[in-house]
């Protein structure tokens, strides 16, 4: 089986043991500095509010850029608390994916230093870390071990997620800012309906249950595809229902969906040795499989992205999908969803019984710019964003945290049915490539996956073309040394 990125387990950077003496010294120093700061134009900060966080950087102003997501909104809401404790002022700017990447690239490449902390999609790690735009985080962790509050515990960050999000060429360049991960989302109420179970068993010869293999996934997709007027779970349908929904537009959504299939068909993009395997047997087989699901997907799936997939699940017109775990909140939101309490969440299926399931990471990463006003103050912000209370608040408000304690929090598990599966998926997920050329590779894959889905070319021909074009892009960099 090919993996999509080097996610060899690495030991997270060691954190110095906290020493009482150091804390006391730091607190005393911060008190002195805070006092000096008050008179010298620094931030207005009360030492009693520190809560264990250093106030040494009071008065520093940080600009943070993050994707326009719920996580970022929640962080912006909570940021005044960070300012109260540390005296560091934070301005959080958000932007959609494409604009964020363009703004960040412009800022980094021109050394403008407009942003101190940037949350980047992890597949740009090679582009930014490889171009020496990012601060390595390990030295900052060590240098500021006595300046972070006791609520931050780096051991709590999910190790696989952290490796995917931040390790480039053996070094850590940030910390995960969210934990998006794929999973199987399905209509649990339909799977539990006795009439449907009996009909399924009669038709396919085995019991209806959430799919664990792609064959079952396909059977279930076929079984639940019904026309208007037919019966579903004892009710007459007024609209058709589809067994599956797919993101098939010429868009990264289609590529990421295909990677979920390819992961378990033994295909993918890059082999562990760094060779391109886009046109390998497993890759072709997985795209053929994805194509075959189109028969049971809502019409027009070739112009659908994640938005349409989420909407179709929410409206109850699709029985299952491979999608992002952070859409689970939308499924359970009564203002938006017709399927509240009806959804189930499972592992991404596998090719054959007994194979290990693999989800796909969709994480983002807090990185610190080399041009940051104060890299230590920036690190304090990142540490605070990953501290236990902030992570729990992110979970409570519908975002996706990156720490184990948040996913194992009893209060959160009680209210978020997808929570245990998100943790399981995060622990078995693989990464997509993160080399500097990945954006160009992604473009070629998006084009050819789309060509295959609309029948412009066969999956074999499409992936063969993608392999050729990507080989041209990578040139003598093959086999890839870091990805």
């Amino acid at each position: 089986m090919f993996r999509f990125a080097q996610t060899a387990p690495m030991s997270p950077p060691a954190r110095r043991p906290r020493r009482l003496l150091l804390v006391t010294t730091a607190t005393a120093a911060s008190l002195v500095l805070a006092g000096c700061g008050a008179g010298g134009g620094g931030g207005d900060v009360d030492p009693e509010d520190a809560n264990g966080w250093s106030q040494e950087f009071a008065g520093t102003e940080l600009n943070v850029l993050a994707e326009a997501t719920l996580n970022s909104e929640i962080l912006a809401e909570l940021a005044p608390e960070f300012t109260r404790m540390t005296g560091i002022e934070v301005a959080i700017e958000t932007a959609p994916f494409a604009q964020l990447v363009q703004s960040v690239t412009l800022d980094f490449s021109t050394s403008q230093g407009d942003f101190d902390v940037v949350s980047i999609p992890y597949d740009y790690l090679g582009a930014y870390a490889g171009s020496d735009y990012l601060e390595e985080i390990t030295p900052l962790i060590e240098a500021n071990a006595d300046k972070v509050g006791p609520e931050f515990n780096q051991e709590d960050i999910l190790p696989g997620l952290w490796d995917t999000a931040a390790v480039w060429n053996g070094k850590y360049y940030g910390m995960p800012s969210n934990s998006a991960v794929t999973m199987m989302i399905y209509r649990a109420d339909l799977f539990e309906n006795e009439t449907e179970k009996a009909a399924f068993a009669a038709q396919y010869g085995y019991e209806l249950a959430p799919a664990t293999t792609w064959q079952q996934y396909s059977d279930i997709a076929e079984f639940f595809t019904r026309d208007a007027g037919e019966q579903l779970a004892g009710e007459t349908l007024t609209e058709p229902v589809y067994g599956v929904t797919i993101a098939g537009k010429r868009h990264e959504a289609a590529v990421f969906e295909w990677i979920n299939y390819a992961n378990s068909f033994g295909g993918g993009v890059v082999s562990p040795e760094g060779e391109l395997v886009v046109d390998s047997e497993g890759s072709v087989e997985s795209l053929e499989y994805m194509n075959s699901l189109g028969e049971f997907a809502p019409p027009g799936y070739t112009s659908a992205t994640w938005d349409e997939v989420t909407a179709q699940l929410q409206q109850g017109i699709a029985a299952q999908a491979i999608s992002w775990g952070d859409t689970a909140g939308a499924m359970e939101n009564p203002d938006q969803s017709a399927v509240v309490g009806k959804m189930g969440y499972g592992d991404v299926p596998v090719s054959a019984e007994g194979d290990d399931p693999h989800a796909l990471h969709g994480a983002w990463t807090y990185t610190i710019s080399k041009e940051a006003t104060d890299v230590n103050a920036a690190y304090l912000f990142v540490a605070w964003a990953l501290s236990a209370p902030v992570q729990k608040a992110i979970g409570e408000k519908g975002g996706v945290p990156a720490t184990r304690s948040a996913f194992e929090d009893a209060d959160l598990i009680a209210t978020l049915p997808s929570w245990p599966q998100q943790l399981t998926s995060l622990e078995n997920a693989l990464a997509r490539p993160r080399n500097a050329e990945w954006p160009q590779m992604l473009e070629q894959l998006a084009l050819q996956v789309s060509n295959a889905l609309v029948g412009e070319s066969t999956p074999e021909a499409a992936l063969g073309k993608a392999q050729g074009d990507i080989t041209g892009i990578l040139g003598d960099k093959l086999p890839l040394k870091a990805f």
Partner: protein, 314 residues
């Protein structure tokens, strides 16, 4: 003033009288000073990017690839352009899109313009309605069509299905359907522009020739076909030029409606260039594509202006 002294001098016929040098210089500097703000703006927004892009197009530069750090590669990017089948496909799609959309807009717009010219009481009202599509921003038009053509819930899809023109998967599911949707969107938005230009041209047409043709026994169709439309041909030519240069730069609506897909069916030149420059961050190749596009549009405009100039002279 001593007039008798000057009268005795021989008349200076050939040499023009020279104005005092100081005044000339002052006037020149005043003129330059008055024009300076607009000249500086033009330099900043037009000349600088053009020169910078030209320079970039001879380099290999990507802000996310440390190995592409601006080294000089001569005509490498231009050579790559000629071997790039995806760029070739984008050019073909763009040509097909511009020719089809502008041709349809011209034919329908001219017909509507003629019809408007014959309206008496309701012309203002109808003209106001015709302006509505043009007022909408391209992004909004793209979103309108995106919702309308949604395969499950789109009202346009429902209408087309009721007419038996599309199947269950809707318009955007097939390469031909998606391309047709783009053309239809442009025609919907910009046909009124041609219609209004034609109407303006017809309103300003000289009445003498029209009356002469009427006296000679031309019926209405002959009057429009043989007299009035030829008279406003330059106006139609300018309208086509405007529309063609706009359509060549089509981006927003394609980005919203199809993203260039399915496959590369709707990947017009600007979408292709956007992807090269701002998704793949291959800035120097993107710059070469931009320069090539600029040259093509400039040549097209020059040909059209020469054509119009000849027609005007005739």
């Amino acid at each position: 003033m001593n007039t008798s002294a000057t009268a005795e001098r021989p008349p200076q016929v050939s040499a023009p009288r020279r104005r005092p040098r100081g005044l000339d210089s002052r006037q020149r500097w005043t003129r330059i000073g008055m024009q300076a703000p607009s000249l500086v703006i033009l330099l900043v927004v037009l000349a600088f990017p053009l020169v910078y892009s030209l320079s970039l197009s001879f380099q290999s530069y990507s802000p996310v690839d440390p190995e592409a750090n601006g080294q000089w590669i001569g005509l490498g990017n231009y050579a790559r352009m000629f071997q790039d089948t995806q760029f070739g496909q984008a050019i073909l799609v763009t040509i097909a899109y511009v020719v089809l959309a502008v041709a349809l807009e011209t034919v329908i717009g001219t017909a509507i313009g003629v019809w408007l010219s014959r309206l008496m009481r309701t012309r203002r009202l109808v003209t106001s309605f015709l302006l509505l599509p043009m007022i909408a921003t391209p992004l909004v038009v793209g979103l309108m069509f995106s919702f309308g053509l949604n395969a499950q819930f789109g009202y346009m899809t429902d209408a087309l299905q009721a007419l038996g023109l599309v199947g269950e998967a809707g318009v955007l599911d097939s390469p031909a359907g998606a391309f047709a949707a783009l053309v239809a969107m442009d025609v919907w938005e910009w046909t009124p522009f041609i219609a209004l230009m034609v109407l303006a041209g017809l309103s300003a047409a000289p009445q003498a020739q029209i009356q002469a043709a009427q006296i000679d026994g031309c019926n209405t169709a002959q009057l429009y076909w043989h007299v009035m439309l030829p008279m406003i041909r330059p106006v139609i030519g300018v309208a086509i030029l405007f529309r063609a240069t706009e359509a060549i730069r089509q981006f927003d609506q394609v980005y919203i409606l199809t993203g260039g897909g399915p496959g590369s069916a709707t990947t017009v030149n600007d979408i292709f260039q956007y992807r090269v420059s701002f998704t793949a961050f291959d800035m120097s190749y993107g710059a070469a594509l931009g320069i090539a596009t600029f040259l093509v549009v400039a040549v097209l405009a020059w040909i059209l202006f020469r054509f119009l100039g000849r027609k005007g002279a005739q």
